[in-house]
Structure formats: C-alpha cells, structure tokens
C-alpha cells in the first residue's frame, strides 16, 4: 500500500556517470544493493568510527553484518577525502541505514547515505580535478574537517598570496600562512589518516580540525 510519506530508504537520483548500466537496470540493482555510499565525512574519521555507527544497523541473527568498508581516497595523495562505501551482507541492513543513520552525525558531522550499485575497483578515488571529491573542488566555504577551503579556492588563494608577497618589502612582518600552503601539501602525502592536524593552518584561528565548530549544514 502506498505510504502517506516518502520513505527515507529510497535511492536518490544520483547517477554514477561512469557506470555502464542503463538507469532501469541500475534501479533494479539498487533494489537489492547491500552497499552504501556514505558522504560528508570528515577527512579524519576512521574506519573504526564508521564501523561503530554502522554496526547499529546490522542483523547478525539473519546472517548479516558489516562485510567491508572502503575508504574514499584522494586520487593523488591517497589520503581519505571524505566519503566511503560500507558493504553489508544483506540488503535490509543497507536500507536500515538509509532510514536511521543517514542524516545523523558521525564524528560530529551530518553524514549522508545513499544506496549504491556496489563497489568496483577505482571507485575508491575522488573524481575531482584536484584528486578529492568533486564537491570539494568548487566548495566556497571553509570546512576544517574536509581540508579547509575547496580545492579551487585554495589554488586561488595561493595565487593571490604569491602575488601579494611578491610585493612585500623587507622588514614586513612575515605572514603565517605563506609557507604553510606548500608544506601542507607535502604533509598530505606523507600521513595516512593521521589524527594530527595535518592540513593548512588558517588565518582566523580555526586551526585544528579536531576542534571544528558545530557544522550542521548538510550540503
């Protein structure tokens, strides 16, 4: 019977642009899917934190459970870039997450779940131009949990700064930021899922991403 409200476990309108199946077949697959895409994660959230929250939806007595977690990685740096796939043994468990977990907080960020066609090799990497997720490419806001500014904004700021410092004469107070931009990139490649504040420091003092403020916006 038709329900008077839209259930939360319906798949979104997302289309995997690189998938070969047509939409109808994709929907068929989704209706049996045991895999979830999880988005809006902090770059610092660990697989164990994900495991803890997503195990609340398992049905071990039905032969279910978390089969594996695939962390989304920056294509270039191979560090987490804010999404993952959680694969269960059963479809019902994935649906339960859509109903009960999607839209709640993990590591103090509102995460978003979507039924997924299933993990395929290569999908663990961000598809943005700079290596991360597309959404982080053009993001305008500052998000300490996701590497600060969006990739394009970062590049722009870097350019602006370089121009700015080119004009600075001797004796001016050295800026905190300039050198950090470069070293931050270097840090990114060396640490894997490091807990320490690895990314660039920011002028307005919100330096440590572990102390990010309340971010309630699901974008």
């Amino acid at each position: 019977m038709a329900h008077v409200v839209q259930p939360l476990d319906a798949p979104s309108g997302y289309k995997d642009s690189q998938h070969r199946l047509d939409r109808q077949r994709q929907l068929e697959h989704l209706s049996k899917s045991t895999t979830l895409y999880v988005g809006n994660l902090s770059f610092y959230t660990t697989e164990e934190q994900i495991y803890e929250l997503f195990s609340r939806c398992t049905n071990p007595e039905e032969g279910g459970g978390i089969k594996r977690i695939i962390m989304g990685l920056d294509r270039n740096t191979k560090t987490p870039c804010g999404f993952c796939f959680v694969e269960y043994y059963t479809h019902a468990e994935a649906l339960a997450c859509m109903r009960y977990v999607s839209g709640t907080k993990l590591d103090e960020r509102i995460v978003r779940c979507d039924l997924d066609l299933g993990y395929a090799d290569g999908r663990q990497f961000g598809r943005g131009k700079s290596g991360g997720q597309v959404r982080d490419e053009h993001r305008q806001d500052y998000d300490a949990g996701r590497g600060g500014w969006g990739a394009q904004t970062q590049a722009e700021k870097r350019r602006e700064r370089e121009e700015l410092y080119a004009d600075v004469g001797p004796g001016t107070v050295p800026a905190v930021g300039g050198g950090d931009w470069k070293s931050a990139d270097a840090a990114n490649t060396s640490t894997k899922r490091a807990r320490s504040p690895g990314d660039e420091d920011d002028e307005d003092g919100r330096a440590n991403p572990r102390f990010r403020g309340d971010r309630d916006e699901e974008d």
């Binding site: 329900h3 164990e48 071990p60 007595e61 459970g65 977690i69 339960a96 709640t104 699901e218």
Partner: protein
C-alpha cells in the same frame, strides 16, 4: 539532479533550515505541506482523490479550536462521486496510517451522507424524479468494508485495530449500528477463547476489542453493559495466562520475588484491562482527549450493519500443519508481554491504566510504528499531536501571552515531550527485543530534539537522570545496555554535552555498581564513536582521575608484547612480522613458522607450539592494526596461515582468541571486530568465543555479553541462511518438476494416459549438499547454545558466587554490595536475558540441553540457585513453571 539536491520530504527534510531555531510556530506554518510530495508527479485522477482524502484538514493549525474544512473537502469528493473506490481507498490509507485523525475521518464520512443534488437533466426533461440514489458516504463505507475484509483475511492486525477506531467513531455519528459494532468486537473476543491461542494472536485480538470498547463506550455501555463486561473478563483472563512469562520481561528485576508487580512500569495488556475496569466502575472520565466532532452526527439515514464474520486462523498455523519440510529454527519470534516504563508521575504524563492515558499512549506507539519509514515525519507528527486532540490535553508551550489563558483551560495539561520520550523509550526497551532496531528510536528522539530543542531537550535530560537513578535498583541489564547505547549515540549527535558533574558523587560507589558500570560503558562507547581526546575534554576532572576508573588512562591502542626488545621472543616476532609486512606468500609463512617452532622446540621450549601461534597471530593483528580494512586484508591474505594455526583443534582456537584479547586489551571494540571476522572466516567457532567471553573480566560485563551475543547471533544467522538456501533449492526443484509434469500431461492428454506417476523423488545433489551444510551448522549452533548455558550454570553455581544476592535481606542491603555481589547479580540478569532472547533457538534443542545441563544440579527444593536456574529456563523455553 545533482548529488546533493535531494528533494526534501515535506515536513521532514532539512531540519537545518527550520529546526534549529526550534520554535513551534515555525513548523506550524509549514504543517500543511506535510504530504506535498507524495502524489505530486504525473498524478492520476485516482491519486488526486486519494490525496484529497489523506490530506484532509492537514492545514489545521496547532489550535484545536479550528474547524476542519468539511464542506470544501466533501464538495471536492461529491464532484468525483463516481470514484467511490478511490475515495474509499483514501479513507483506508488515512485511517490505517493517520490514527490521530480517526474521528475526523468519521466526521468527513458523515458529510458524504448529504443527499446528492438531483441531476439537472432529469428535471429539464420533466421525467419523474428518480429514486433517491444511495448516499455517497454509504457507498464509501461499503467499499471500505471490502478492504477491511482483505485485512481480516491477511490478519493485518494494525490495520484492523485502527479500522475499529474508525468504526467506533462512525458508530457514534450513527453511520454504523451500535449492535453490529458490538458483534464485531465479540467476533474478535471469540479469538481469546480459542484453545491454545498464541500470545501474539490473543493480544492483538484483545487490543482490537478493548480499544473498540473504549472508543465506542458512550454508545455501547447503556444497552450492552453485560456483553462488554463479558468481553473485559475474556481479556483479563487471557492476560492472566501470561502471568508467569511476565517474570521474564519486566524491565525492573528483583531476583528473589517470584511474581513481582514491578515498580514504575505497566504491562500494556494489564493496563488495558485496568482502563476498561475503570470505565465500567467509574464511567467516562471527566476529560476526554479525543475530539469527537459529534455535531457531524447524521440522523436521517439507516446506519450500516457491519456484516458478521469469524476471525480466520493464523496463516502460520496452517503452514505448519500442511508443510512437512524442516522449519527454520528461530524463524518465529516469541511474543511476550510488553511493559511501559514510567519515568514521570501521573500529573506529568498520562497514566496508562486509565482509558485516556491508554488511548494517548497507544496513539503515540501507533505513529511511532507506522512512520518508521521516515523518522523525520514521525517526529513532526508526534510534536503536532496536540492539534488533533482536545485543548488542554497537553500543556501549551506557547509564549507567555497565551499562557494565562491556557492555564485556565480545563484538561490534564500533561507534558507532551515527556510523554513522547517516555513512550518511545518504553518501546525501545521492550524485552527481549524492541519492535524496530534500537537505532530507530535513538534517531527518532534526535529528530524530536532537532525540531524543538528547547522543549524536548529537558524531557530527554530528565529521562536520562531517571533511568540512571534506577540503575542499581534493579533495572534489567539489557535495558541498561540499550540505555547506555542510546545515551552515547544521542550525545554523539549533540556535541557530547552532558552535565557529567551531577554524577561525580557516584564515583564513591563500588566500581562494580551498575551506575559506575554505566559511566564506564557510556564513555567507552562515546570514544568509539569519536576519539579519546575529544571525549576526555568533555568530562570533568574528577572522571579523568585514574582512581575514578571511568575511562582508560590512554587512548585505545595495540599491545604488542613482543615489540619490547627484552622480550625473549622479540626476534622471532620480528622475523614473522617482517614476512607479513613484505606480503610473503602464505605457504612460505607457514613453512617459516614451522621452522621457527622446530627451532624453539630444539632449544627446549615445551610450549613452542603455543608461543609461535601467539606470535604469529599478534604479528598478523599488528599488520592489520592500522584500520579495519588493513585487518580484513591481512586476514584474507593469510587465511591459510590462520587455518594452520588452529589445525590442532579447540585448544589452539582458544589460544588464538586469547592472543586477540591480549593484543587488543585496550580496545573492546577491536576485540569484537577481530572476533567477528575470525568467526566469519571460520577460524574460530562461536562456542570458542562464548568460552573466551566468560573467561574475560566481569568488570566490563557489557563487553562480555557483546561477545556472547555476537557468537550466538553468528551461529544462528548461519543456520538460518543455510536452512533458507535448502528451502529455496527444494522449491526451485519442485517448481521445475511441476513444470515438467504439466508439459508431460499436455503431451499425454491426447493419449488419455494417466499423468506420469509421482516418481519417488530422490534428493538431488544440490539438496544433499545443502542438507549437509544445514546439519553441520545446526551442530555448531547447538554447541554454541549448550556452551553458553553451561558457562552460565558454571558461573552461577560457582561456590565463590555469593548466593545471598537471591535473598531479600541482602538485596535490601545492596549499598554494601561489592564486586562479587554485583557481578553475580549481573550474571543472573544476563542468564535471564539469554533464556528469553534465545528461547526460539533453545527450544529446538530444549530436551537434550536441559538434561545435560541441569542434571548435575542439586534438587531445586533445597537449593535456591538451582531452583532459579531451572525456573527461568522452564518459563522461557518450556513455556511454564517447572
């Protein structure tokens, strides 16, 4: 559509834009859009009509004085009078999914009884006026009834129950005859007299009868009091049949009392009986929260006579009679009495043992169940509940101006938020399990908080304090476990902001006290969801002090004992670690470990085998310690190594688990994850995990039980999958055979030969191998269950276990209890939970298990421990007192 632009579902989506401000007026204005998206695209006429019915009066503001738009909606429906079935379907959807609007739909139906204007054509042609056409309302009701019968055939209890509410309201408006409604209730009451009626079936029927009586009291009691009293007695008698089972599922436990009337909780069916008795003795309560809308009463029509019927037998029963195939063990859940936990007194939240209180409570549970598919809508509808009820039912939380006026209003003025949280938590705490996953209730409460933080927040805080206080006064361990999980998850959604300092004095309690155990476990779960430093910063200094034992002194991390260069096995460990890090082939690793073992043996180490096992396992865990994925990769790559480690059997598997426990001693979560995967890959068996759990520290009994539960669920889950696979293969083959036979018959038909006789169907290879798998897994399942029972009996009959915990005098003096008493008390509670939660599985092996396990115990007459062990088992598994 871009990835991030999902449609927001009417009231539900995007609390960011709306909720955080949190004032009620904000969503009041939006209330009317609740179902906007449902039928919006490519709407057919039928859908449009259904949606007119479903959305009826949704635009109603919070003020209950509002008059619903009867005329407008009725006219819209009259315009589509030829679409009776669509209108009736709209009513069925609305009645079964929007229970708070039941009287509104009865009133709307009454408006559809207005005489239809005569067709103009008839007048123009000067023909004789045709006979009065049947009233639209009547046609809709007749069609509604057809749907009701379908629900009856399928025994869709929630729909039946809510339809009865609707019928009762319709009867009050003279649309349905009172006597036929009574007959309908009697048909359901007859179920209660069926010999051997199951608790599920009986209680559902009882709810139908009892709620029907409450709703239709005003039109039934004068003429039919005797009949009503008979039905009430039936319900009461039925409720009494479950008296012994109640011992199993009370949320507050007192071990030494056989049939305690538990403090601060009410069994639901008992509450219904009390509510009904209250009606018969004291009459209608002065205040009725249900808006009756009686001015819609229709006088000039013949009321509909509900046809009589018999409630059909349960489908499952039919199946088990006809189907000889193996049934899947544990497929049928036990239905047991359910308790509402009371956290607030009757002035704050309605007393469920009165008709008004019972009605409001069930309304809340219906909405909670129905809207499980969309917790955001559920939260919105629950907070809007007062708008459908009489003014004064709940205290208004409007700003001051209105307050003066409100306070003069009649009505009980209960606190909506407290009532909601109390009722939702009660459902979350049903024993042995909640109707939906615990996380649903947790998320629902979160949504309520997001929608109205200023009013729901305090109710949540008070509930937490109340539950916390009851820890140590007998709050069941499983309820306490869920309470802890709710607490930690809730805090993780709200910035870990809890007033921990209130509980500082409790640090002085013994470490094993349930409150201290709660604090430890809650902090542990918070750390799992967040990270150590974050949680430490959220706690007052007193909790951070090591002597408070509230949290570990360091963040969870590995303990690789061989890392220390002074460890005698340091070098061996480094060698193996190196091999694993280099991703050396499994076969080669096995050869290397064998060489190392031989070397150790030659150098005189008698335990060389065990040493190499522990080292190899810990080295493997070390390689996999960076993340869950690393662990999984390490396990999968070195499965042959792991298999070789446990090749020698049970003792080896126990050592493997011991090594896991040692390596992850500082992370209960990682122990659980590793153990789960080792079971998944059948390196260790569930029964091994049970033994391992019972051997670990009782200080963290929640972690112990987590392991036991994981083991049992794994064993049961596997068996169920295997049985289902077998059933599926069988069905597939049967279908294929049937098809063949039909084909053969078609060919034979011309020759008029008899259809090919049923060949004796030998099992196919697929069936044989599936059967074999089932048998093996069932044996593992039995072993795991038997091991758990054995461990519990061993634990509880241990001479060191204080037997006094079963005595009233000791319980009353529990302030003086130390670790041995509390640990034993907890073990008793977990034993009770084991029996009630796994009864459907235990029953399959009941006889052999009980003979083996209880035979050695002293006779129950002379031994309290033995008596309680047997009694709990008999009630849960064998269905009665020993």
């Amino acid at each position: 559509m871009s990835y991030n632009e999902r449609p927001s579902y009417g009231g539900g989506g995007g609390y960011n834009r709306r909720g955080r401000g949190g004032n009620r007026h904000d969503y009041e204005r939006r209330g009317g859009h609740g179902h906007r998206d449902d039928f919006s695209y490519a709407e057919t006429l039928e859908q449009r009509i259904k949606s007119i019915v479903v959305k009826f009066s949704d635009e109603q503001p919070l003020d209950p004085g509002f008059t619903p738009p009867f005329e407008r909606v009725a006219n819209q429906l009259f315009d589509n009078a030829n679409q009776v079935s669509a209108i009736a379907e709209g009513f069925r959807i609305a009645v079964s999914q929007l229970p708070f609007k039941a009287p509104y739909y009865a009133a709307l139906l009454a408006r559809l009884y207005a005489p239809r204007p005569k067709p103009e054509t008839a007048e123009q042609n000067g023909d004789a006026p045709p006979e009065d056409p049947p009233r639209l309302g009547r046609l809709v009701l007749e069609d509604y009834w057809k749907g009701f019968q379908t629900w009856l055939d399928k025994l869709s209890w929630p729909e039946l129950r809510l339809s009865i509410h609707f019928f009762a309201h319709a009867a009050k408006l003279n649309l349905i005859s009172a006597s036929s409604l009574l007959a309908l209730l009697q048909s359901f009451a007859a179920v209660l007299e069926e010999p051997g009626v199951s608790y599920a079936r009986g209680s559902n029927a009882a709810f139908c009868v009892g709620e029907g009586i409450i709703r239709a009291w005003s039109i039934l009691h004068e003429e039919h009091l005797a009949a009503i009293e008979t039905m009430i007695t039936s319900i009461a008698n039925f409720s009494d049949t479950a008296a012994t089972e109640k011992y199993l599922v009370q949320p507050m436990i007192v071990l030494h009392v056989r049939n305690a009337a538990p403090a601060s909780s009410n069994e639901i069916l008992e509450s219904l009986v009390s509510a009904l008795r209250d009606l018969t003795t004291n009459g209608v309560p002065s205040y009725n929260p249900i808006r009756e809308l009686l001015d819609s009463k229709v006088e000039d029509v013949q009321p509909f006579e509900l046809p009589s019927f018999l409630v059909p037998p349960d489908v499952l029963d039919m199946d088990s009679l006809s189907d000889g195939a193996e049934t899947v063990v544990g497929d049928k859940k036990d239905d047991l009495p359910a308790y509402l936990i009371r956290l607030f007194d009757n002035t704050m939240t309605p007393d469920p043992t009165t008709s008004t209180g019972y009605t409001i409570r069930t309304l809340i549970s219906h909405v909670t169940n129905i809207f499980e598919v969309n917790r955001k809508e559920a939260a919105r509808l629950l907070l809007e509940l007062p708008k459908w009820l009489e003014r004064g039912t709940f205290k208004s939380t409007k700003p001051d101006a209105a307050k003066v006026e409100e306070s003069e209003q009649a009505g009980p003025q209960w606190l909506l938020e407290n009532t909601l949280i109390e009722t939702i938590l009660s459902m979350a705490f049903y024993l042995p399990s909640s109707p939906h996953k615990l996380i649903y209730y947790i998320s629902l409460i979160s949504e309520l908080c997001k929608l109205s933080p200023t009013t729901v927040g305090p109710a949540v805080g008070k509930s937490i304090r109340k539950l916390y206080t009851s820890l140590g006064d007998g709050l069941d361990v499983e309820v306490a476990r869920r309470f802890t999980e709710w607490f930690a998850t809730h805090m993780s959604n709200f910035g870990y902001a809890w007033v921990w300092k209130e509980w500082i004095p409790d640090i002085a309690l013994p470490a094993a006290h349930p409150r201290r155990a709660f604090i430890r476990r809650a902090i542990e779960l918070e750390i799992r969801m967040s990270y150590y430093d974050r949680i430490v910063k959220s706690l007052p200094e007193q909790f951070q002090a090591p002597e408070a034992e509230a949290l570990p002194t360091e963040a969870p991390a590995i303990t690789f004992e061989y890392e220390d260069p002074t460890n005698p096995h340091h070098d061996v460990a480094q060698t193996i670690l190196g091999l694993l890090r280099d991703r050396t082939k499994a076969e080669q690793v096995i050869t290397e470990t064998e060489t190392l073992r031989n070397q150790l043996q030659e150098s005189g180490d008698a335990r060389a085998d065990s040493v190499v096992r522990a080292i190899t396992l810990q080295a493997l865990l070390n390689v996999g310690s960076r993340s869950f994925s690393h662990l999984l990769n390490a396990i999968e790559r070195y499965l042959p190594v792991l298999r070789s480690l446990v090749a020698s059997g049970g003792e080896a598997r126990a050592e493997v688990l011991k090594a896991v426990g040692a390596f992850w001693a500082r992370s209960g979560q990682m122990v659980a994850i590793v153990v789960d995967k080792l079971m998944q890959y059948q390196i260790v068996e569930p029964a091994d995990v049970v033994s391992f759990a019972f051997a670990s520290s009782e200080t963290s009994h929640a972690t112990q039980w987590e392991l036991v539960r994981a083991a049992l669920d794994k064993a049961n889950g596997r068996t169920r999958i295997a049985s289902r696979r077998l059933a599926a293969i069988r069905k597939e083959e049967e279908d294929a055979r049937a098809k063949k036979m039909v084909a053969a018959m078609d060919v034979d038909a011309s020759e008029s030969a008899a259809p090919a006789t049923d060949e004796p169907t030998a099992d196919s290879e697929a069936v044989i191998s599936a059967k074999k798998a089932c048998e093996v897994l069932a044996r593992d399942q039995r072993t795991a269950l038997a091991k758990t029972l054995e461990c519990f009996i061993q634990r509880l009959t241990d001479p060191a276990a204080p037997r006094a915990v079963l005595e009233p005098s000791s319980w009353d003096a529990r302030e003086s209890w130390g670790a041995p008493e509390w640990h034993t008390w907890q073990a008793w509670c977990w034993y009770r939970h084991f029996c009630r939660a796994y009864a459907p599985y235990l029953r399959a092996y009941a006889q052999s298990l009980s003979i083996v396990s209880f035979a050695a115990l002293p006779p129950p007459e002379s031994d309290a421990v033995s008596a309680l062990l047997r009694r709990t088992w008999s009630i849960a598994v064998e269905g009665g007192e020993p």
